[in-house]
């Protein structure tokens, strides 16, 4: 009862994508039980949650958490760890200058964390070297916004997805990546028969389920598509001339450039691999639908021409005056829960803070004065890919990685791994103990996890929400802002980092946003100065609000730019003159296929949290590659087998999924798998380290690759209650499931595991099991089960070849882990992989020669009114061979003949 009484309900925000759903968590601090439902009052989701969000309660288990600071493998006190970080950073700064150190942050950090990180690096250490995984995600949108609007402003909001009559979803599998927004569109569409949805994506994703038109565009050809649209709008006289003339600049040049690209539909069709008819349909729908929203995400951003793609989209919206209006405008769908917050504080190496810029006169001085520092960074630092190249080159000698996993997520990830291996000093602060990046850390700092952190996040539509702590910090975990400011103090900046509570950080952030923020001084979009003096109570009770939050808009503002006022010096929106250009690395004879990468419905980033929720691992349990049937045939791949993918930069293994949702020549792999779960499933190894020249965002959606069948000599799986020790098996994927883990195995070596090897490997995890096995060595079949008494602890099944042999059903074997112990019948059946349910209960065996059970005999006697054992023998063969059971049959006959006592 005490447990029940201890349950309280806390409103907070989801840990995952940029929709930033509000959730209500029912929390029992004693048991750490958390269950999650959608917050009906939150404007981002109105009570909806997706599969990931609703499983949040399953991800806060402490088993995978980093709970204490470590220097090397030695657990230390916080003071020692912080001293070590400060000392090494100081030494390196003193010896090699501030640009020899760097921070690499994350859209998972809260705004307060991010603010302190940025302030420490740019303001006091004095280097621009703080970049973030948002570089992989949103930086093309940021640059595109800045080029067009003068600031990184998202003009529209989620409601516009519902108000629109045409929603163009481009470069986004919104059904999986922003499921709640997708559900809002689906619901709006069913309420509005005029509403149309166009999905532009090389893949026929689940998002296409609501599409009236799917354009399977050739990877990277978006600028051609939207330049074509701009031409179409010009030629069909769909231009909002009044808006263009009054509020924009560069229209004529933009049109000229797009015409130079080839205005004819046929040319665009050939460039984009689309049919003229589909193009014409899309163009006419766009032209004729005033309420049009173009929602875009990584398919646009992750490109060597990502910024141009963003501006190509914005050009069309500026040309039609459809921006910042209810139901019309461009909408960048942010990937991470606080990527927007990171952009606000200046978490990217290329900006300063609070939407102040290195390249705008006066901004450096402004920030320097506000922070009261003399060591402000002179200019931009290194963006992510360059940063890790600089680490590899030895120019950056100390890096502090926070809440992200670049060894998995960056392009050319094997090089990143090597760079960190040779980096003199690597600090990683994270809530997870074992990640591919944490494995390379010299100092490991335990950060609070989602359920413990408290601070602000900003979602896709500029809505600031309070993410609240549900539970006390686990172990010695600390907030990231605390860790950073304690290091800042140790670096000699006591005054500037003397924060005692996150609200103090937030107030300072809000104050900076309003600092000299007027038309006369330096006008910026981002202004939350109304919160500069927010009380702790108001901070704690903060209701989700879209910025700006200032004197003019104390309750926030839904849309920007409907007044035609932009933040460029001229206050006019800027058209960009754009020319389509293909992805940097073309396919070639050696690497003939285009690799696309992306998210899955039920996983998040590098799976450190989602993989803890068994039900999220069932949808797609293994790294896979989607291949069109034509390509599968050409490269000798069969569905469900394994393939080796290789590029100039690395290789990975993946399970082949043959599907015509993929275009011929294009293949797709999910971005999530790490070495913690898969021996060779890191897609980052393959991805080319090509970046957009403006945004420095990598071209993760286009890498030339080759694919071949993985020549497995044997394959199999292990189901185990406990995590197994590492093995030398070539292909090994771990899938956490409910109550057990599943390992998928394969190897190219002809040495099939034998029973002794299997026992030895499994015994490293389970020292005292009793074993059961089936061995058919000539056919390469081995099945081994280990028990503690009658409790199944692990089961291994091995079959020869890549896919030729039949392995038992994993589902049936999995179901046995739910049982506290197994009956003898179940145990004997287990390795067959077939459920015992179908086995008729024939009773205790009577006739051993013909395996006739007592129940069978009784039934034969009663059904046929038999009276002698000879008759019984004729009926069911019992007793007709050796006759040993004849006495028993006689006894059974006698027992039936006797009238039963009443």
């Amino acid at each position: 009862m005490t447990d029940l009484q201890a349950t309280n309900t806390i409103k907070t925000t989801c840990a995952y994508c940029g929709v930033g759903c509000g959730i209500e968590a029912k929390v029992n601090p004693l048991t750490r039980d958390v269950s999650v439902t959608g917050d009906k009052a939150h404007p981002a989701n109105f009570g909806r949650v997706c599969s990931k969000g609703s499983s949040l309660g399953e991800t806060i288990d402490l088993s995978s958490r980093l709970l204490h600071p470590f220097i090397g493998d030695e657990q230390v006190h916080w003071d020692q760890a912080l001293d070590e970080v400060a000392t090494r950073f100081s030494q390196i700064i003193a010896e090699h200058g501030p640009d020899a150190v760097a921070f690499y942050g994350s859209g998972q950090l809260l705004t307060e964390d991010y603010y302190v990180a940025n302030k420490l690096m740019k303001g006091f250490i004095g280097s621009g070297n703080i970049d973030t995984n948002s570089r992989l995600c949103m930086s093309s949108a940021v640059s595109g916004h800045k080029r067009a609007f003068g600031t990184d402003t998202v003009p529209n909001c989620f409601e516009d997805l519902e108000l629109a009559d045409l929603v163009v979803i481009t470069g986004s599998n919104m059904a999986w990546c922003h499921p709640v927004s997708y559900q809002r569109i689906r619901a709006a569409k069913s309420n509005n028969p005029n509403m149309k949805v166009v999905v532009i994506d090389p893949r026929r994703t689940d998002t296409c389920d609501i599409a009236d038109l799917h354009l399977p565009i050739a990877a990277g050809s978006d600028v051609a598509l939207f330049n074509g649209l701009l031409n179409y709008l010009v030629e069909g006289q769909y231009i909002d001339h009044e808006f263009v003339e009054s509020h924009t600049e560069g229209f004529a040049e933009a049109v000229a450039a797009s015409q130079a690209d080839g205005a004819a539909l046929a040319a665009i069709a050939s460039e984009t691999r689309l049919s003229e008819r589909d193009l014409a349909t899309f163009y006419s729908w766009f032209a004729e639908t005033d309420k049009t929203v173009t929602a875009y995400s990584q398919g646009v951003n992750q490109s060597s021409s990502g910024v141009d793609k963003v501006n190509a989209i914005i050009n069309c919206h500026l040309a039609t005056g459809r921006i910042g209006k209810p139901g019309s405008g461009p909408l960048s769908m942010t990937g991470q829960p606080n990527a927007m917050g990171g952009r606000e504080v200046g978490g990217l190496a290329t900006t300063l803070a609070a939407h102040l810029e290195f390249n705008i006169d006066g901004d450096r001085d402004r920030v320097g004065r506000f922070w009261n520092t003399t060591t402000l960074a002179q200019g931009p630092g290194l963006p992510a890919v360059d940063l890790f190249d600089a680490i590899a080159d030895g120019k950056v000698k100390a890096v502090w990685i926070m809440a992200t996993n670049p060894v998995v997520s960056l392009p050319n990830a094997d090089k990143v791994k090597k760079a960190l291996q040779q980096c003199p000093f690597v600090v990683v602060s994270d809530c997870v103990a074992q990640t591919d990046t944490m494995a390379l850390a010299h100092v490991k700092l335990p950060a609070q996890g989602w359920s413990e952190k408290d601070g602000m996040v900003t979602n896709t539509e500029r809505r600031i929400s309070h993410q609240r702590a549900l539970l006390p910090a686990a172990g010695e975990a600390k907030p990231d802002w605390w860790i950073l400011s304690r290091v800042g103090q140790r670096l000699g900046f006591e005054e500037a980092f003397n924060y005692q509570h996150q609200v103090e950080v937030f107030r300072e952030h809000a104050a900076l946003s309003g600092f000299e923020n007027t038309q006369a001084q330096r006008l910026r979009d981002f202004d939350i100065s109304a919160l500069a003096d927010i009380s702790l109570a108001d901070y704690n009770n903060f209701e989700p609000t879209q910025w700006p939050i200032n004197a003019a808009y104390p309750n926030g503002k839904t849309r920007f730019f409907c007044d035609g006022q932009f933040y460029t010096p001229s206050r006019k929106g800027q058209f960009l003159a754009l020319r389509a250009k293909p992805p940097e690395n073309p396919t070639c004879a050696d690497y003939p296929l285009v690799l696309n990468t992306g998210r899955l419905r039920d996983q998040w980033h590098t799976m450190t949290r989602t993989a803890l929720a068994p039900r999220l691992n069932q949808h797609k349990p293994e790294p896979f590659v989607e291949v069109h049937p034509i390509d599968a045939k050409q490269y000798g791949l069969t569905d469900g087998s394994l393939a080796e993918l290789s590029s100039k930069w690395g290789k990975m293994y993946a399970r082949v999924n043959i599907t015509d949702k993929q275009q011929p020549g294009d293949i797709f792999v999910p971005m999530h798998w790490t070495e913690q779960l898969a021996s060779a499933g890191r897609m980052g190894s393959l991805v080319n380290p090509v970046v957009d020249p403006i945004s420095a965002q990598p071209e993760s959606k286009h890498t030339p690759v080759a694919i071949t069948a993985y020549q497995a000599q044997w394959h199999g799986f292990v189901l185990s209650r406990q995590t197994l020790t590492n093995s030398t098996i070539d292909y090994q994927v771990k899938v956490p499931c409910q109550g057990y883990l599943r390992y998928e195995l394969a190897d190219v070596s002809a040495d099939r595991p034998n029973i002794n090897w299997a026992k030895q490997w499994l015994s490293e995890t389970y020292p005292n099991l009793n074993w059961q096995y089936v061995d058919d060595p000539q056919h390469g079949v081995l099945r081994v089960a280990g028990y503690q008494a009658n409790v199944l602890m692990c089961v291994m099944c091995i079959a020869p070849g890549p896919q030729t042999s039949v392995l038992p059903e994993r589902n049936f074997l999995s179901s046995l882990f739910a049982k506290p112990s197994l009956s003898e019948v179940e145990r004997l059946a287990l390795l067959s992989g077939l459920p015992t349910a179908g086995a008729e209960d024939t009773g205790a065996q009577v006739c051993a020669c013909f395996n006739v059970g007592e129940k069978t005999i009784r039934k034969a006697i009663t059904d046929n009114a038999l009276t002698t054992y000879q008759e019984v023998g004729k009926c069911c063969k019992a007793g007709t061979n050796c006759g040993s059971c004849v006495p028993e049959i006689k006894t059974i006959l006698a027992s039936i003949a006797e009238p039963q006592p009443a």
Binding site: V774, Y787, A829, G883, S884
Partner: protein, 421 residues
């Protein structure tokens, strides 16, 4: 019209099975006379072990009592005096020790086998017996009531059953076996080890790979000790020899029938004298002699088929399955359980349940099977072995038994593998 006269020498399982089959096929064809040296009706000899254990009574293992003979109008001459001592083939007349005689038109010899007695020094001492009939069982039971030390020579089926029975009756029992593994003609070493461990847990001791040297007796001529070639010795009040049987064919030989290691019969169980048939452990068929019930019953069926004038059946030697009649121990063996270089093995072993299965295949047909602990699929394996069907399609399920193979085969039929695009 006078009925044909059938005389049967031997009132054991083989002879009586033939008579039963004959009565079934042609009830009134013969006047039947049966001679038996044991003073009973017909009993199930292979059930002597449960009698020794006290699990069954003599009455319970009787197949046909004297009333049955009367009911079927069979003349039964049973008892030591009724042992047939001569066959006069010219006169078609048999005669027993007490002079009882009977004429025949057809004669069936089913004299069975005699236990093999190794002539060690001392093998004729009191307390040295075989394990063959009710008399032997009664002897063992009386020893168990008053004596302590039993030594059973022979780690085969009969020896283990005797040892188990004597142990059940409270004696200290040691099994002496000349090989390193028990049941070495039926089991591979893994199964044999499991079996030995099980017997040891029941308190039976083993002296393996042992060569018996001598039986030593006391002044009254009763065995007291066994000595071995390695110099060791065991106290012994009862010495049971269970080292096999030899066909009992002296009578036939005396009658001039062709005998080698047994009475030589053809595929219809006919001897070299067309009016004389022979079945059971006394015969030699295509060079083989017999010691297990299944082939003997098969012979009886074929023989009855010919005696009844149908004359179409042929006896075909098939691999014979063996089982151990010891409660709580399930063991089954059929065919070639070792296999040769061209063979493939499938094994199942459950350490805790003490279940072990070993299948030997050649070109996806079954050539041998050993089951220990879980023998319910023994007859299925035997039928697969006999039919020599190709098992490729169910090979993955074979070791799990008939039910799983059937379910699997059904699933394969219901949902054929999808065609590869």
């Amino acid at each position: 019209m006078r009925k044909e006269r059938l005389v049967v020498i031997g009132n054991g399982m083989a002879g009586m099975k033939a008579v039963e089959e004959l009565l079934e096929a042609k009830p009134d064809y013969y006047d039947i006379t049966i001679f038996g040296a044991e003073p009973y009706g017909n009993y199930n000899r292979i059930m002597l072990s449960p009698v020794l254990c006290g699990e069954k009574t003599i009455d319970e293992i009787m197949i046909n009592d004297r009333q049955w003979y009367k009911d079927n109008h069979i003349t039964l001459h049973a008892g030591p005096d009724k042992q047939v001592v001569s066959i006069n083939r010219r006169r078609r007349l048999v005669e027993s020790r007490d002079g009882t005689s009977a004429r025949y038109d057809r004669l069936l010899i089913a004299t069975g086998s005699k236990p093999f007695i190794i002539p060690f020094p001392g093998h004729k001492l009191d307390g040295v017996i075989a394990f063959r009939d009710i008399f032997d069982v009664n002897t063992m039971l009386s020893y168990a009531a008053s004596k302590q030390h039993a030594v059973v020579l022979g780690g085969g089926l009969l020896g283990l059953e005797a040892a188990n029975g004597l142990r059940q009756q409270g004696m200290d029992v040691t099994v002496v076996h000349n090989c390193a593994t028990l049941l070495n003609r039926q089991l591979d070493s893994t199964a044999a080890d499991l079996l030995q461990t099980e017997f040891e847990s029941r308190g039976i001791q083993f002296k393996m790979a042992a060569e018996t040297k001598e039986l030593i007796g006391d002044k009254s001529g009763h065995v007291t000790q066994v000595t071995f070639a390695d110099g060791s010795e065991l106290p012994c009040d009862l010495f049971v020899m269970a080292v096999g049987v030899k066909p009992n064919f002296e009578l036939a030989q005396q009658a001039g029938l062709h005998c080698e290691r047994g009475i030589v019969v053809n595929d219809t169980l006919q001897t070299f004298d067309p009016s004389i048939y022979a079945v059971g452990e006394c015969v030699q068929h295509r060079g083989q002699t017999f010691g297990l019930v299944a082939p003997v019953f098969e012979q009886a069926k074929v023989c009855a088929n010919h005696l009844s004038g149908h004359g179409v059946a042929e006896y075909k030697m098939l691999p014979t399955a063996t089982k151990l009649k010891v409660s709580g121990i399930n063991m089954f063996s059929v065919g070639d359980f070792n296999g040769d270089a061209g063979c493939e093995l499938i094994e199942f072993h459950d350490q805790q349940l003490n279940v072990y299965k070993r299948l030997v295949l050649r070109d996806n047909t079954l050539v041998g099977a050993v089951l220990y602990g879980d023998t319910k699929d023994g007859s299925w394996y035997q039928s697969l072995l006999e039919s020599q069907q190709n098992l490729a399609s169910i090979r993955s399920m074979l070791i799990f038994g008939q039910h799983y193979a059937d379910v699997f085969a059904q699933e394969m039929t219901d949902s054929p593998m999808p065609e590869v695009a």
